[in-house]
């Protein structure tokens, strides 16, 4: 098991170095960093001095190595637009995005799995048909529309929930902030989380439904019935567990996507997360932020994939052999 994790970590480092080089190309060759940093009236002599000072005259491999070494220390340089270290900017906004993604994922799992199981077991019932109709809506309505509808209903018309921002936050440790411990923070996260969760929930529901229908046809389910086990045991102990491997895969990758692409939801709800920061950096060609964001997302997916692989082994003993033997 330990050997497997170490091997995977080495592979992960390879992936991150590759992504780091892409980030470097982005950083170095899209636009001129000096032009971005200085004003229009800056004389050419100062530009040359700055160029020398930033090391932009060194050979490309040297620059690339320097970029990677700095990235490994979480030093992504100074943002062009904010004139602040990029790592601080991202660090300040990361908790908001991660918290939103976490809450949305929990919501989609807690609602999606039972709905999927229910629609698979009671295919002809009215409630199952309602769920399936809703899932069609959830999968086809664009995120921003759902967000705006929610704001119109719960913030504008009913006035129950705030329409923007994160509410009051509490500091935990040196840099993590959480809105989950205050009343206004909790109220603020409901609508963005639902908006983000709706698509995931329908996806999980449809996946669980399809997998359940498949597994319920399996021989071991028929044998479990032939042994007189109760329907509940057959469904939840024997069938549901066998649907989990594909569900884990999709949920893991979707969690990555939620974090990486929550941009629209964050914009609709003015959520002070990384998505907004990334959008601003694109508008202002703030390359250091984009490069750092790229690396962060790659890191996130690498970690998620590792966790997903370990969860496979926890669920399916047949995969444990492969991992132990590795």
């Amino acid at each position: 098991m330990i050997a497997f994790i170490i091997r995977r970590l080495f592979a992960s480092i390879g992936v991150l170095i590759a992504v780091g080089l892409i980030a470097f190309v982005l950083f170095r060759y899209i636009g001129d960093p000096v032009n971005q940093m200085v004003g229009i009236e800056t004389p050419e002599s100062e530009r040359v001095a700055l160029r020398q000072q930033l090391g932009l005259n060194d050979p490309a491999p040297v620059q690339a190595l320097r970029f990677l070494a700095n990235a490994a220390r979480l030093d992504f340089g100074i943002s062009y637009q904010f004139k602040q270290p990029v790592s601080e900017l991202i660090g300040a906004r990361m908790p908001a995005t991660l918290e939103l993604a976490f809450v949305a994922s929990i919501m989609s799992l807690v609602a999606g799995i039972p709905m999927g199981v229910y629609t698979a077991l009671h295919r002809r019932s009215a409630l199952a048909k309602l769920f399936e109709a809703l899932s069609l809506v959830g999968i086809s309505l664009p995120t921003f529309l759902i967000g705006i509808l929610l704001i119109y209903l719960f913030a504008v018309t009913l006035g129950w929930l705030p329409s923007f921002g994160r509410g009051d936050v509490v500091h935990i440790g040196s840099w993590w902030t959480t809105g989950l411990l205050t009343k206004s923070g909790l109220k603020s996260i409901i609508m963005p989380a639902i908006t983000l969760a709706l698509f995931q929930m329908t996806l999980i529901m449809r996946l669980v439904r399809a997998e359940m229908l498949e597994v319920l046809r399996a021989d071991y389910i028929r044998f479990a019935r032939a042994r007189g086990l109760s329907e509940r045991k057959v469904h939840f102990r024997h069938a549901l567990k066998n649907t989990l491997v594909p569900v884990i895969t999709v949920v893991g990758l979707q969690l990555g996507s939620i974090v990486a692409f929550s941009i629209i939801t964050e914009t609709v709800f003015s959520w002070p997360g990384m998505g907004q920061l990334f959008l601003q950096s694109v508008q202002n060609v703030d390359i250091p932020i984009m490069a750092a964001y790229l690396l962060f997302i790659a890191f996130l997916f690498v970690i998620i994939n590792l966790v997903v692989d370990l969860l496979y082994a926890a669920v399916d003993p047949r995969l444990r052999v492969a991992i132990h033997g590795a």
Partner: protein, 333 residues
Amino acid sequence: MTAPLLSVKDLRVEFATRRGPLTALDGVSFDLAPGEILGVVGESGAGKSLTGLAIIGLLDPPGRIAGGEIRLAGERIDNLPPEAMRKIRGRRIGMIFQDPLTSLNPLLRIGDQLVETILTHTSLTQRQARERALALLTEVGIPAPEKRIDGYPHEFSGGMRQRVVIALALCAEPALVIADEPTTALDVSVQAQIIAVLKRLAREHHAAVILITHDMGVIAETADRVAVMYAGRIAEIGRVDEVVRDPLHPYAKGLMAAIPTLEGRAARLAQIPGAMPRLSAIPPGCAFNPRCPNVFDRCRIERPPPLAIGTRRAACWLYDRGEVASPAKEAVS
């Protein structure tokens, strides 16, 4: 003769389709005495497995029992509510399926699968159930069961898995075990062992067995009686030695002639020309008439009922002596 453990009368199974119902089993009748082993043979699609599934109440929709009755120890079980039928499954009727590789849940330890089955049907404690699981594994011949009980199915060979499946089917000491091709998916070298285990356990636990297979050799060695099925009907049923040595029904004759023997090695194996009809195209009269070497006019018009010949019954007009045996006074050896 003792009262039959299982009595199937005029069983009819239909599949609802868009073009109307398809009759998959028709007029299947037989009795089974306690402790008796009945072999069921026939080609694929003859209705062997369906008969087993109908008895244990696990027909997959759109299949359903459309007529006849099934009695277990005198009590009708074909029309029980699902929950009552579930209590019979595993406790009074056990079933073993064809493929041991897929019969066990791959994610659960075999000990857990045994214990959950034992706990479902008995009032034992967790610890006692585990003791019993160990005893069962010993009985089916799994070496070092205390080491293997916490193993997962994929850690067992095919033969060992089928032993586990047999242990699972026998957990609650059912009076009837339906074994649906229990050795077909196994290596030839293991098949005989599994059949021996099944036979020994059935005897020790006083369980009757319905052994479904297309291997006449297995039937000849194991079963007391044999039912030959064709196109959803029983062509001939009787004592194994009689049916094997001197089959009456032309289809049974063809089937027995197709068994390879050492003496007849040089000769070409006998074949029955043609193929079994599809369910949607069963001919009128006797279902076997298009392939039958002894066919005559009556076979094409009138369907032959099971006719008693000595201790046997054969559904063939060749043996009609004017009297029609009623299923009620059928012969049970």
